[in-house]
């Protein structure tokens, strides 16, 4: 349990944002530091709203924060 198929670049983005602490990010997006840790470690997939708030905190689009690994269950998009 724990692997969600969603990777993220939060740790890297925190580093590039003046080494923003987990606590500072948590306060900006309205969650606890433990939740930020869980998201960073891929143990928890945040809600869409929280994901947008994280992207907003770093000033980047959502897809630059979260990356989804396509699995075999993911079908091809219909044309």
């Amino acid at each position: 349990m724990g692997a969600t198929g969603i990777r993220n670049r939060i740790r890297e983005l925190r580093f590039h944002t003046g080494e923003m602490t987990q606590q500072a990010l948590a306060e900006r997006i309205g969650v606890t530091r433990q939740t930020v840790i869980a998201i960073e470690q891929g143990k928890y997939s945040p809600s869409l709203e929280a994901a947008f708030r994280i992207a907003l905190a770093f000033g980047v689009p959502l897809e630059q924060v979260f990356l989804y690994d396509r699995g075999p269950q993911d079908g091809r998009p219909s044309s």
């Binding site: 349990m1 724990g2 080494e19 606890t32 433990q34 869980a38 470690q41 143990k43 928890y44």
Partner: protein, 184 residues
């Protein structure tokens, strides 16, 4: 890759990319390693421990009394005392950890953990009550079988229901701790 290895890797990358920020990297490494019990986890762990100890003692006394066929003269008082003791322990413990550790309001992950844990607890509660109803139907049905070793008195039924509630509460707490640690 193990989590600890990931933390080490991040620190090494930070140093290599920007040597001027070694201090920040160390600070962050300390932050990463500070992933011990959160306020919510401490609160839950304490509640589970208190519940297991206090009710464990209560049910152990009840079983010993039932085995020795000693009539429990003060059964209701003992139950009230147990509940009172648990309330006092919980209140004192929650105050202590609130003073020591900064309490944080529940966020979306806490609420999701609560929901999943409640689902597990509900399953245990339903299972316990279903077993109890089955026992009542067997024992107090048209023909009470002789192999049933105990009369299902109202007090014993209440004890069994209480045991189901306690078991559900413990499962809820243990589930919460598991989901906080393992993720979902």
């Amino acid at each position: 890759m193990a989590r600890s290895d990931e933390s080490v890797m991040y620190t090494m990358i930070d140093i290599r990319i920007n040597k001027g920020y070694i201090v920040y990297s160390r600070q962050d490494a300390k932050e990463e390693s500070r992933v011990n019990l959160s306020f919510q986890e401490k609160s839950i762990a304490g509640s589970v421990a208190a519940t297991v100890l206090v009710y464990g003692n209560y049910f152990a006394e009840s079983i010993l009394g039932w085995q020795s066929r000693t009539p429990d003269e003060n059964a209701a008082g003992r139950l009230l005392g147990t509940i009172g003791l648990l309330v006092v322990i919980e209140v004192v413990y929650q105050i202590v950890i609130a003073v020591v550790d900064q309490p944080s309001p529940k966020d979306e992950r806490d609420r999701l953990v609560d929901g999943k844990a409640n689902r597990n607890a509900y399953a245990i509660l339903v299972l316990g009550l279903a077993l109890l109803i089955t026992c009542v139907l067997i024992v107090d049905g048209v023909s009470s079988p002789e192999w049933v070793p105990v009369a299902l008195t109202p007090f014993l039924l209440a004890q069994a229901m209480l045991a189901s509630l306690v078991a559900a509460e413990v499962v809820k707490g243990v589930s919460q701790l598991y989901y906080y640690r393992a993720g979902f």
